[in-house]
Symmetry: C2
Subunit: 162 residues, 2 copies
């Protein structure tokens, strides 16, 4: 029996590392909820530097009607540029958050109001987003990929301004 115990230990020792990854662990979902809140707060505060804590170093951001932005530094730069011109209100309504081990995704809707700092009318946009998420070696969840679009009709070229 002693030898059996040794064999058993040897055979199963690796099990915790190779066992099924946790799915939708409450601590992971809570961390992603906090990440999402941080995202909206960074927008409303116009705090581009905050995005360093929200995105992975190799993140790829794919904003609607804009070129793809590759890397966390470029994501910060993009937001710096936006925040210098606009004050933002951002509401995020999550519809689905799933994790498996150290990866996951979050999907939902947003409502954004953009007010030009130079004056002029505020513009509201509504739509959906999907972000891919990664849990780093430090245990923190970050956005690795994002994409958004709009549920509002595309303005027809030549349409009268509203």
């Amino acid at each position: 029996v002693a030898l059996g115990a040794v064999l058993l230990h040897a055979a199963c020792a690796g099990a915790p590392e190779t066992s099924a990854p946790e799915v939708n662990a409450p601590a992971d979902i809570a961390a992603i909820n906090a990440l999402r809140d941080g995202f909206a707060k960074a927008y409303e505060a116009g705090d581009a530097a905050a995005f360093a804590n929200l995105y992975t170093p190799d993140a790829i951001s794919q904003p609607n009607h804009e070129p793809t932005v590759t890397g966390r530094d470029a994501v910060i730069e993009m937001h710096k540029n936006t925040f210098s011109q606009f004050a933002m209100k951002l509401e995020i309504m999550p519809d689905e958050t799933r994790t498996m081990g150290n990866t996951g995704f979050d999907r939902g809707r947003y409502r954004m109001t953009v007010t030009p700092k130079a004056g002029g009318p505020a513009i509201t946009n509504e739509g959906r987003y999907t972000v891919m998420l990664e849990k780093g070696d430090d245990g923190a969840w970050r956005v690795s990929r994002d994409i958004d679009n709009s549920t509002m009709p595309m303005p027809a070229p030549g349409a009268a301004p509203q």
Copy 2:
């Protein structure tokens, strides 16, 4: 030792079911490549019924500047409506395909040309897509969520038609 072997067998018997899910298994990636090809072919053939094989029953489709479409039947209906009005050319350029067990995602770029069947100029759109994927009990991969957007500038309201 015999008893040890029995214990070992008993302790580890459940391992295959609870072990780590396969990541990026070549057969899964190949199946997703075929799914993507089927998607483009269905567009070019104007074959709305083909989407029944491409989407999960509870799929959620989130086309840019359109309302969210919930359920495979509604996805088929949407495409039926589109294909009745437009001939489509669709090129899909995948950038990233990942699977873990029975879930995965595919992310990339597309170029689409839409020609009104009633006449008038063709319109080309370019952008990105992200789809969430699920492998069913039948072993087939299907799209469970999709979202796309455009890399082309948003037409300004009141801009001259191009």
